[in-house]
């Protein structure tokens, strides 16, 4: 993935699976992964939250950073609740959902700093994995965010959604997509 998609690449994508973003004053269409790489401004999350989410997503589901886990979650949090595609809406958590992510990601960084003096996104493999294990088991001392196993489950699922739940994700698994109605975009922005 190039840091800045070329015009040719954008045209090649043909408007399918693209989100509309304003970059440098002009409106462009990017896939979520391209948007993430191009550093598109975030709509709901802060940069630190986005970096934490990307790092946690990647640790849970390899490939999810490039597949656009941050762009997906950020876009969905900013979308109207009626169009929300986050699995969180099934799990008994009241909207708006941004505080759920904000508090969970902040709590993860608090834990990372307390244990290793670094934010989660900057941890090496071993401490990061140990912290994710503790998150999954709900065994992080002093945790103040949403219930840790629920937070783990939700972010893991978001990361699975972008990695495995798109036409590209099916293709990577070798699973036929066989759409009746082809998704007009990966996760909902009307073209």
């Amino acid at each position: 993935m190039h840091a800045h998609p070329t015009r040719r690449e954008l045209l090649k994508a043909g408007g399918v699976g693209l989100l509309t973003f304003t970059l440098g004053g002009s409106v462009v269409k990017l896939s979520p992964a391209e948007a993430q790489a191009a550093g598109v401004p975030l709509a709901a999350l802060t940069r630190e939250e986005a970096d934490t989410l990307a790092a946690l997503g990647e640790r849970l589901v390899p490939g999810s950073r490039e597949a656009g886990v941050v762009a997906f979650v950020d876009y969905q949090l900013a979308a109207s609740s009626g169009d929300c595609m986050l699995m969180l809406q099934y799990l008994g958590v009241d909207p708006p959902f941004t505080p759920f992510y904000r508090e969970g990601l902040a709590a993860l960084n608090v834990a990372a700093r307390a244990l290793y003096k670094l934010p989660f996104a900057e941890l090496q493999d071993a401490p990061a994995d140990a912290l994710v294990d503790a998150l999954a088991e709900g065994k992080i001392e002093g945790w103040t965010g949403p219930p840790p196993p629920l937070f783990y489950f939700v972010v893991r699922n978001d990361a699975c959604d972008v990695t495995y739940g798109t036409e590209k994700g099916f293709a990577a698994l070798g699973v036929p997509y066989a759409a009746h109605i082809t998704p007009p975009s990966a996760w909902g922005e009307p073209s």
Partner: protein
């Protein structure tokens, strides 16, 4: 958008899902002036995007529902949002209830009885099946109660179904084709299903029987008007409190309007019907409309699903087929005390070999939520080709304390939110454990290299506005007609006094067919 009626009409129907659309079609065809008010947005076939992400727009509904108790009923996953309601994402598994399901109290001394028996519903099951279309093979389905043969040939069995079917046979248990309201041939102008497993996202080709495919077109052809984005906030009554006069609703642009009608039909899903009635309290009905008995909101039941998974050495093509499955087993269904020795009570059935997509709450990745990192990547590579699955549907004892109440919190329109408390009985939980252990044994017998079950998952919500013989302990009579307000009818699975252990949609259609026939035949008496 069609304008809301400004003059009094014959019937206003709240909700455009399975029950509401059924009522609307029959009433409009009987010459009644009918308006259907739907809280959610309009839906067209092109909105039914084949994607487990896009599919989430079809679920949940409006204001949050607060859930408490040990075994929450999963409103967000089970409710429907938009025209067609939850019928748009239901999987169309349509078995009939069994004779013992209607007489749980009389036969076993537990739970409740229905005010009708199987014989009262048989003709309506037959009629609905003829109209909506069910694929099945009654001669192979030995546990099926009496009734007309299915109108369409059985659902095909693919590799996943063959493998799991062998597991049942190896344990001396019978499987039969799953009765599915999905087309196995062209049926009443609807094309044949293509079996690519996208039922959860809504079927845009009309192969699956839902409100948009069957009853809404009939209702609209007969003159009923459909009003999306119109959320009913109150049922209105006259000064005596004995007659409903219409409903108050809020339109998309925030206007508060009244739609007046001779008959009000509440078909706004299991949780929202009691919420609306509780929120429509008046001086004559201080504890909520139609709640003289004190049973309004009570006896909420939910099927706790048993998700069973396995990995088989053969390729199983798990994304293929129908979301509901391919085969059925109801081995011990007719004896609710079959597992009494283990402290269990009730019936259960297996829906076998569901089509599974890689992501989503019921997807392949969620079958092993413990896996992450490289282990998850490796699992997904393997499981997306070799997965087998089935789902147990476990009866949930009807308990008065499992109920909908109003929260102190209110929605934007000032209506108190629904709070739903649900904790399954010990005997229901014990039955779940029996089923889960059996499921894993079946998969081992099928030759699975690994077999496991996931945690209980809430599926289908029933009760809360239960029907009964006596006005002293139920909300409606067997026609869904409120004891206290005879021109107020309720449609849907909220009427079920007990949950049984079969999927509810076929039965709620049979009940709707019976109710609306009664209403048309006794219109003057109902209107009063």
């Amino acid at each position: 958008m069609t304008a809301l009626p400004t003059e009094k009409i014959d019937a206003v129907i709240v909700g455009s899902g399975a029950a509401g659309s059924h009522f609307a079609a029959r009433l409009a065809q009987a010459g009644k002036r009918v308006a259907i008010l739907e809280a959610g947005p309009a839906r067209e076939n092109e909105d039914l995007v084949s994607s487990m992400l896009w599919a989430r727009r079809l679920k949940g509904s409006g204001a949050p529902v607060l859930e408490t108790g040990k075994d929450t009923v999963g409103y967000g996953f089970n409710a429907g949002r938009g025209v067609g309601g939850s019928s748009m994402h239901h999987y169309a598994v349509w078995p009939r209830m069994h004779e013992n399901d209607f007489r749980v109290k009389s036969l076993y001394g537990r739970s409740r009885d229905w005010p009708i028996g199987y014989a009262d519903l048989q003709a309506y099951y037959d009629r609905v099946q003829d109209e909506c279309g069910i694929a099945g093979e009654h001669r192979m389905e030995s546990t099926r109660p009496p009734g007309a043969p299915y109108p369409m040939p059985r659902v095909p069995v693919f590799e996943q179904g063959r493998i799991v079917g062998h597991g049942f046979e190896a344990m001396g248990m019978k499987v039969s084709p799953l009765p599915l309201a999905v087309t196995t041939r062209a049926f009443r102008g609807r094309p044949q299903c293509m079996w690519d497993g996208w039922c959860d996202a809504g079927c845009p080709i009309g192969a699956l029987a839902n409100a948009q495919t069957v009853h809404l077109p009939q209702a609209q052809a007969a003159g009923a008007t459909l009003h999306p984005d119109t959320e009913v906030v109150r049922v209105l009554t006259d000064a005596s409190g004995k007659r409903a006069t219409g409903v108050e609703a809020i339109t998309k642009d925030g206007q508060r309007v009244k739609v007046m009608a001779d008959v009000v039909v509440l078909a706004a899903f299991t949780i929202q019907n009691p919420r609306l009635l509780l929120a429509s309290a008046t001086a004559q009905h201080p504890d909520g409309l139609a709640n003289a008995s004190g049973t309004l909101g009570r006896f909420i039941t939910g099927h706790m699903a048993v998700p069973v998974f396995g990995l088989h050495e053969k390729e199983t093509n798990p994304g293929f087929g129908a979301s509901g499955g391919q085969l059925l087993n109801q081995e011990h269904y007719d004896d609710k005390n079959a597992h009494k020795a283990k402290g269990a009570f009730g019936s259960y059935q297996w829906m076998i070999a569901q089509a599974m997509k890689p992501n989503g709450l019921l997807g392949i990745a969620s079958s092993r939520p413990d896996l992450r990192g490289k282990a998850l990547s490796e699992f997904m590579e393997r499981a997306s080709r070799h997965m087998i699955t089935m789902t147990g549907v476990v009866e949930d004892e009807a308990l008065a304390e499992n109920r909908v109440t109003l929260s102190a919190r209110k929605d934007a329109a000032g209506v108190p939110l629904a709070s739903v408390a649900h904790t399954s009985s010990k005997a229901s939980n014990a039955l779940w454990d029996v089923a889960a252990a059996e499921g894993v044994r079946v998969f081992e017998a099928a030759g699975a290299k690994e077999a496991w079950h996931a945690n209980r998952a809430p599926m289908h919500i029933m009760g809360g506005t239960v029907m009964g013989e006596s006005a002293a302990n139920s909300v409606t009579n067997s026609y869904g007609q409120c004891h206290d307000v005879p021109n107020l009818f309720i449609g849907g699975a909220g009427l079920f006094p007990t949950s049984a252990a079969v999927n509810p949609t076929f039965t709620l259609h049979a009940l709707s067919a019976r109710s609306v026939e009664h209403l048309v035949a006794n219109w003057s008496a109902a209107v009063g």
